[in-house]
Symmetry: C2
Subunit: 484 residues, 2 copies
């Protein structure tokens, strides 16, 4: 038995202890990735001026995974994942919640233990006041294109395209293409295709994708790769990433204006342009795309034959095809916004496309400015049932159904929470950066001057596919004294 | 003052304390490499099944340097060097010298401290019984294309193309293109172009290159890059290495037969072929070259328009151009064996071309089998004055001049020592590997299944050009227990 096989067994055992009331992760992952594949890809981590540095990797397989920030990985299998620790709290930060102020005693780090993450995006902007110094992912299995976003997860199973967002989750199963943003969650089974946002005492948003839509777009059979239109869209473009990952110090192919940054690990094709303060993250895919001032293209997103007017957010895994997004549009995690040349999409100013929304246009569609959309939309009728104007929602309080979506609580609180979150995202990404004063710098500015370091697994033998033990920490400051 | 500037000052101070009787290293290195260059290159290290792994890098600049084996680098600047730790002694090895047996208590490692190595090759096969567990390079400055070969050096200055071979050296200066293999050396100034081999109580070989030859081939002015024909030859081919270092997991361009290995970091051009059990190391350069069974091409060597019949050694920095080397020829460190289409070279079976020999043919030359050659050779007359047949030398005992070379002691001891060393080199490189039994495996076989890891310096800021602190060690063995 190879060390890698033992590692897989060990992860199964650990995750199953937590998940014993609902799930057995073993059939999900035992034969999912041929072991051969685990030794075919290098892992890499970024060295920058702007992010505290500490990487520690032990007893793990890291194939194809990208790391940024402070990360400590032990007894885990990460396969082509993205572990992005660029919004970790720092020593000395003050954290405020419900009027309480708590001091952060040491730099926060991402600690991944006994877990299996497959093409998972981990972003660390977490809001868990109970664990300020450690962002933990433990005894957890997360499958294709799932997102763990600001969410410490312990003993969880995330099926393909599931997103756990701003939620501290313990012993939960998140079904395929489910989206959850509920603060805290324990011992809960979340059905595939549920989109659920709740702020205790303030509001609740609940939508359930019909089974037939899931079957067409994100179909998951235990132990296999997901199938369906969304997966096909991603798989059909995987080859374009090969040259990107084959070069050391890849050069950038299009002009990068002031305040913008374009990851050398993004795919850029055709007539594509980016404007000032644009952020293009690694594994973003741009083809015939135009990104206006301060727009961002986050990890695993696809922007194809589309124009974004500016200050647009395209969240992790968001896909925008044959669409024109006016300024300040938000397209959430794993949303699939798919127009065609015959049925183009127009998305008005300030619209919010909820995470996981599937718009697959069978006719030209125009979404009016200031609209919240969700669910599954093919035509104007669907759009009516799966949208509400933000101004109408803001004035609502109580319990109702807006078309296919159940809402309760304060519409104002919901709209304000989303708006402030979108503002945070744009700020953090550097959309408002002013080069004259240097104020407002965010990821778009800080992601320049990155150096990439490559780690390889053992190429053969009983450790094949495992990585050696590695620890990397900052150059000692002032080791020659301070006498200059 | 940047950290890198402080580091440079610190190295100058440390080396100068040791070298205070002869030399001030400061004018040699202060302005030699523009600081900008130190942040332009990545360092890399190999992960294999066959070499104990431990890398520790601290407070150093490692630009472009290659590491293999166990290496610990602190407060040093290594620039495009090769640190090859693949013949380090292992824990439990017994070391014999003068009838005494000494046990090696822990795996030997290369420890580089307070040193500046510029395009230097460090090979660790050391014979120093007084420091079995630590191969030390300390307070030392070594310049372009120098070799530190099995030689612990403390407080030394190696000028360009100098070689210190099987010598424990303390507080010495080695002039440009000097070659020293003398066992122990302290407080000695070795003139440029001296080729000096001595085994206390057995023999001594001594040759001095004329100044005008040095001026033409390896001219060194303090504080500048060396100039001359040998340096031009190398510099003119530097661009060919750019694509080699630009790809991750470079693929190999010619067939690699059984038992052979071709480093992905070698340059291979034109009609080039390698036979079974051939070893081609990283930074070797092959163009229109044919390497017969068990031949090797070591680091920084150039084999161009040439044929090697088999079991040939081309040592570090050896250059063979328009030559036909019959079987079992040895071409030593930094030798320059340069024929032309009009004046080709023929080197007979079992010849030994001494390290640093310069053959620059102005007419076709044929060196008879079993000949030892040295010095500077352009034509048949020169060849007579700079060679002796190995059989004649073997029969000699006493003190004499063979042409331009002074020899004293036992010819037999000298020839036997060289022959046994060449045999060791061929054995260590796997030339005699038998695929049927698996016996005789050496570097040629063990260098397959290598994975390369890339480390980058800080790209900007006050640490620009410095590398973060890095420690890499083996995957914990059997961390899941032994129950399979």
């Amino acid at each position: 038995m190879t060390q890698l096989s033992k590692l897989l067994e060990s992860i199964i055992t650990r995750a199953n202890v937590n998940l014993r009331e609902f799930a057995d992760v073993e059939p999900h992952i035992r034969n999912l990735v041929p072991h051969e594949h685990f030794s075919n890809f290098y892992a890499f981590y970024a060295l920058t001026l702007h992010h505290p540095l500490h990487f520690k990797f032990r007893e793990s397989c890291l194939s194809g995974t990208y790391f940024l920030g402070k990360c400590d990985v032990q007894r885990s299998i990460l396969y082509k994942s993205d572990i992005r620790g660029d919004e970790l709290k720092r020593r000395g930060d003050m954290f405020e919640i419900d009027g309480m102020k708590i001091k952060v005693y040491s730099d926060e780090f991402i600690a991944i233990r006994d877990s299996y993450l497959l093409k998972t995006l981990v972003h660390n902007y977490s809001h868990d006041p109970e664990n300020l110094e450690k962002f933990a992912i433990r005894n957890t299995v997360a499958l294709h294109w799932s997102n763990i976003h600001g969410s410490p997860v312990v003993g969880c199973l995330l099926e393909p395209f599931a997103t756990v967002d701003f939620t501290s989750a313990q012993n939960c199963v998140f079904g395929a293409h489910s989206y959850v943003q509920v603060g805290d969650l324990a011992h809960t089974y979340v059905k595939p295709g549920r989109v659920w946002v709740r702020y205790e005492g303030a509001f609740e948003f609940d939508y359930q994708f019909p089974q037939e839509v899931l079957d067409r777009y994100v179909h998951y059979e235990v132990g296999t790769c997901p199938t369906g239109i969304m997966m096909d869209y991603v798989e059909d473009r995987q080859e374009d990433f090969i040259p990107v990952y084959s070069a050391v110090n890849q050069s950038v192919s299009i002009p990068v204006p002031r305040g913008a940054s374009l990851s050398p690990y993004a795919v850029v094709k055709g007539e594509t342009s980016i404007d000032e303060n644009v952020l293009v993250c690694q594994r973003a895919y741009l083809a015939e795309a135009s990104l206006g001032h301060g727009a961002n293209a986050q990890e695993n997103c696809y922007i194809v034959h589309s124009r974004l007017d500016g200050y647009n957010v395209t969240a992790h895994g968001g896909k925008i095809i044959h669409a024109h997004c006016e300024a300040n549009c938000f397209v959430g995690f794993n949303a699939f916004v798919h127009g065609t040349p015959e049925s183009p999409l127009q998305i008005g100013k300030g619209c919010i496309v909820m995470p996981h929304t599937i718009i697959d246009a069978s006719e030209a569609l125009s979404i009016p400015p200031g609209t919240l959309v969700w669910g599954y939309i093919q035509n104007a009728d669907d759009l009516r049932r799966n949208s509400v104007s933000l101004s109408r929602l803001r004035d609502f309080s109580g319990e109702t159904e807006f078309g296919t979506m159940r809402f309760s609580g304060s519409g104002r609180a919901f709209v304000d929470a989303f708006s402030s979150r979108i503002r945070h995202i744009l700020e953090a990404n550097g959309a408002y950066y002013d080069p004259a004063t240097g104020e407002g710098a965010g990821h778009a500015q800080k992601n320049n001057d990155m150096a990439f370091n490559i780690v390889q697994p053992y190429p053969a033998g009983r450790n094949k596919g495992l990585y050696p033990t590695l620890e990397i920490s900052p150059a000692t400051d002032d080791f020659f004294g301070d006498d200059d």
